[in-house]
């Protein structure tokens, strides 16, 4: 039972018009393209869809992408948390520039990232030239793809964890120290649990971005099928080859995976500190 005043207010500010305007704008921008993927993927029926997925190249690309995403998320969870800890808890000369550098990957075009990795590790690169005679060649191998993904997704972990550390008052650490906990025990028992939510959402974000990474991967992987071809590269290659159904099947799987990740992000990681 609403009091009459609020009824009039609601009538005056009816949400119908602005909401329908927003949906109209979003329809061609976001909603229809996503729908198109699924429509095309299933146009030939479920059987054709499954057959397209069963192709060995498609199977490899999906598995490779998921393995890469896990590896990237795991490595960056450790390095990113460590970076966040150092940048939040210590004050030192050059902290500001370092802060900018670690967030730079967000701003650099991924193709440029791929190029720079090639110029460092590639056969004619600065370091690659020295490694080549030793038989070490990270480019055009899964290791190269991992390097590219770590680079591109680095800021996501940092962005999710550092604000939590900045907010965590030093008195928590200090209380642990006076109680007798060593630096490591304090980190393990006091700081890390307080970061759980941030690490969770940072890991999910990293995973999702790694799964969809294209620009840098295409440069450093060489796009070698059954060796370094990730799912997005497979989709692109199939499209170019005219196998639209094959491309769409993998694209639909990627889209669903992304939906699931985002569901978890929204569900559990929005207010990480409140989750008990």
């Amino acid at each position: 039972m609403n009091p009459p005043v609020s009824v009039t207010t609601r009538r005056l500010h009816s949400p119908v018009f602005p909401v329908s305007m927003l949906v109209l704008v979003l329809l061609p921008l976001l909603l229809l393209p996503l729908a198109a993927v699924f429509i095309f993927a299933f146009r030939g029926g479920a059987v054709a869809f499954l057959a397209a997925l069963k192709a060995p190249d498609a199977q490899f690309a999906l598995r490779f992408s998921i393995v890469m995403a896990f590896a990237t998320a795991a490595v960056n969870a450790v390095i990113g948390t460590f970076a966040a800890y150092v940048l939040s808890k210590y004050s030192f000369r050059g902290k500001r520039p370092l802060n900018i550098v670690v967030n730079l990957p967000v701003a650099i075009p991924t193709v440029v990232v791929g190029t720079s990795l090639l110029l460092l590790w590639g056969p004619i690169g600065l370091l690659g030239r020295l490694l080549e005679p030793l038989g070490l060649q990270p480019m055009f191998t899964p290791a190269g793809v991992l390097l590219a993904h770590l680079f591109v997704t680095f800021p996501y972990m940092l962005g999710a964890v550092k604000p939590l550390l900045d907010e965590l008052e030093t008195t928590y650490e200090e209380a642990a120290y006076t109680i007798g906990a060593s630096r490591w025990q304090t980190f393990w028992h006091v700081i890390l649990p307080a970061l759980r939510g941030g690490i969770f959402s940072g890991t999910l974000l990293t995973f999702a971005h790694s799964l969809g990474e294209f620009g840098a991967t295409v440069m450093v992987s060489g796009n070698l099928r059954l060796r370094t071809q990730t799912a997005p590269l497979y989709i692109f290659a199939q499209f170019e080859a005219g196998n639209i159904a094959g491309a769409n099947a993998v694209a639909a799987v990627l889209a669903v995976l992304s939906f699931v990740i985002f569901f978890f992000l929204l569900r559990y990681a929005v207010r990480p500190t409140r989750a008990s």
Partner: protein, 613 residues
């Protein structure tokens, strides 16, 4: 002794936040460190816990030197204002944390945890998470967590500061009860004097990094030594007067000076009386207790159990009000008092006498330095050279007649800094110099005023406003010339032909004592007057007075027809010349052939002009 601090100092950059603090806290006691925010009290606590290193001094906990130890082995129990209990652990896990770190078996851990939950009144709350309990309960958990591993000492940093009034009172009582029961040595830091009174066995009051006083609550309330402690620990009236003949004089009152608070002759003295120590009566009081005079009630406030009154008394001669502050443009004395609300209302113009009072300890000398914001820093350097050995507090008055430039305060502050007057207060004034100095003097009783005779040059031709100020000055004034001595080792006191001014000797002697300087008493014998037995006797008395102040002194008699020339000749061997000035009553005595003026104009070193009695 459970906690001993010996000469502990902490600096952050150029700022000293804890200055040479020494403190001993006995076994099982509850010591409250009281101070305003920024007084350094929390830094002291953090240094004991080991969370902040100290730059100088030593810290002992239970006889063990922990100065350079990390926080962990110190075994202190610390409770913060923001509770800081771990949010992802249950109440029980929080309490057990210290025991878990110490690898205590889980059975014993559970037993200890239950004891502590009971102690802090949270039995049954073990499984809750911090966000499921109230702030007061969280602070109880923090206390239990700090007590769980039987800490060497308990340190509480404003533990009740974040709680609302009712919970605060409750927790204060349980804190006291728990502390009494466990007899754990406790240091509590707070800015709340009521909390300090209720909890403390002993209180220490800190101000700007210095531990001013330590004592039991009642002693500090009734007999504080310093003005800061007097006003921080309760209301009341503080008047400033002067010491003469062993008594402190405040208008009509001449009060004996207690042996615990020795005062030098001629020094300023401060009288404190608390609101409840004032007696109001409609007839002149018959008792021979101290009577201040007849006052007038100007304000009454009802505050429950008591009625607070504000009275005005007429101006008392050579007495200044220190607190409460007198409204601008008003003369006279303001007194705050309170009477029980049930008592009959007082007469409109009651007699005011004192039931009880205290004389504060002799305050460090106060210097006022005038700086014009340009030219050489001689007056500032002189103040710096004096303030160090005298341990004086300094106010720098940046003085620009008419309009001061926008950054004038910064300029003056910067100049004071470069003369090493780092702790000086900087005030700014733009009206006439004598008026400006009078305004400053109305707020603070200065021991010396330091100004430059004529900035930028020798003093030849004193500035007219300096002369007019000197004519009316009732405070000793040091007039600085082109050069400022680094140290004051030899002081020349010039005595008058007839009678040496007693004030010249007292004030010059006090200064010499503070500076550890030698004094030469100069007597100029005018040949045409012949031998003067009276003058000789006065000189001997002066010398005895100086010896009484433990000042080394010699008498020098100079036969010379021209006193000024003689003084000038002697001046070269001294760092400071003391001459008598003219009292405020006799105006325009600085004629051209006046000795004081001639000395002022021609002597290259600073000259102290002592006003006549």
């Amino acid at each position: 002794m459970s906690i001993v601090l010996a000469n502990v100092t902490k600096r952050y950059g150029s700022q000293t936040v804890v200055k040479n603090v020494s403190l001993e806290i006995g076994e099982g006691g509850l010591f409250v460190l009281l101070g305003a925010s920024g007084s350094g009290k929390s830094t002291v606590l953090r240094m004991i816990a080991g969370l902040t290193t100290c730059d100088e001094g030593r810290i002992l906990i239970k006889g063990r030197d922990v100065t350079h130890l990390a926080p962990q082995p110190r075994g202190t129990g610390l409770v913060f204002q923001n509770y800081s209990i771990f949010r992802h652990m249950t109440v029980a896990e929080n309490i057990e944390f210290g025991l878990k770190i110490r690898k205590v078996a889980s059975v014993q851990r559970a037993k200890r945890r239950d004891e502590l939950l009971e102690l802090v009144g949270l039995t049954g709350y073990g499984d809750r998470y911090p966000h499921q309990i109230s702030g007061g309960q969280q602070q109880r958990v923090a206390l239990a967590r700090a007590l769980a591993y039987e800490p060497s000492v308990l340190l509480l940093d404003e533990p009740l500061g974040a709680l609302d009034v009712k919970i605060r009172a409750q927790l204060r009582r349980s804190l006291k009860e728990i502390q009494r029961r466990l007899r754990v040595t406790t240091l509590l830091v707070t800015h709340d004097q009521e909390e300090a009174y209720e909890l403390a066995d002993r209180i220490g009051v800190m101000d700007r990094g210095t531990l001013l006083e330590v004592g039991v609550p009642e002693e500090l309330y009734h007999r504080p030594r310093t003005l800061y402690v007097a006003s921080f620990l309760g209301g009341g009236t503080v008047l400033a007067g002067r010491v003469a003949n062993g008594l402190a004089h405040f208008g009509p009152l001449s009060l004996p000076i207690p042996a615990e608070v020795p005062h030098e002759e001629g020094a300023s003295a401060e009288l404190l009386f608390r609101p409840e120590h004032v007696i109001l009566s409609s007839d002149p009081p018959a008792s021979n207790g101290p009577v201040l005079g007849k006052g007038r009630v100007v304000e009454q406030t009802f505050s429950g159990a008591a009625r607070r009154l504000r009275l005005h008394l007429p101006h008392l001669p050579s007495t200044r009000q220190v607190s409460p502050a007198v409204a601008f443009g008003e003369q006279g004395i303001v007194i705050e008092t309170s009477i029980p609300a049930s008592a009959p209302a007082p007469a409109d113009e009651p007699w005011v006498s004192l039931r009880n009072w205290a004389i504060l300890g002799q305050a460090p000398p106060r210097l006022l330095v005038i700086d014009t914001g340009s030219g050489p820093l001689t007056s500032l350097h002189t103040a710096s050279a004096l303030a160090g050995p005298m341990r004086a507090s300094v106010i720098v008055l940046g003085y620009a007649r008419g309009d001061a430039p926008e950054d004038f305060r910064d300029t003056v502050a910067h100049r004071a800094q470069s003369a090493e007057l780092n702790e000086a207060e900087v005030h700014i004034g733009t009206s006439d110099l004598p008026i400006q100095i009078a305004t400053e003097s109305a707020n603070t009783l200065f021991d010396f005023i330091i100004l430059s005779g004529n900035p930028g040059a020798a003093k030849a031709g004193l500035k007219p406003d300096v002369v007019s100020f000197l004519e009316g000055a009732d405070t000793p004034v040091i007039v600085v010339a082109a050069e400022a001595p680094k140290r004051f080792e030899r002081i020349l006191i010039c005595t008058r032909a007839g009678e040496p001014g007693k004030n010249d000797i007292r004030i010059g002697g006090r200064l010499a004592r503070h500076l550890g300087a030698q004094v030469t008493l100069l007597h100029i014998q005018q040949p045409e007057l012949g031998e003067q037995p009276l003058a000789r006797r006065h000189l001997e008395m002066a010398s005895a007075t100086l010896s009484g102040l433990e000042v080394q002194n010699t008498i020098r008699t100079y036969p010379d027809p021209s006193p000024a020339e003689a003084i000038l000749r002697e001046a070269a061997k001294h760092d400071l010349i003391v001459v008598g000035g003219h009292g405020p009553e006799v105006q325009s005595l600085f004629s051209r052939d006046d000795i004081t003026l001639q000395v002022l104009m021609r002597v290259p070193c600073p000259v102290l002009v002592v006003p006549a009695e």
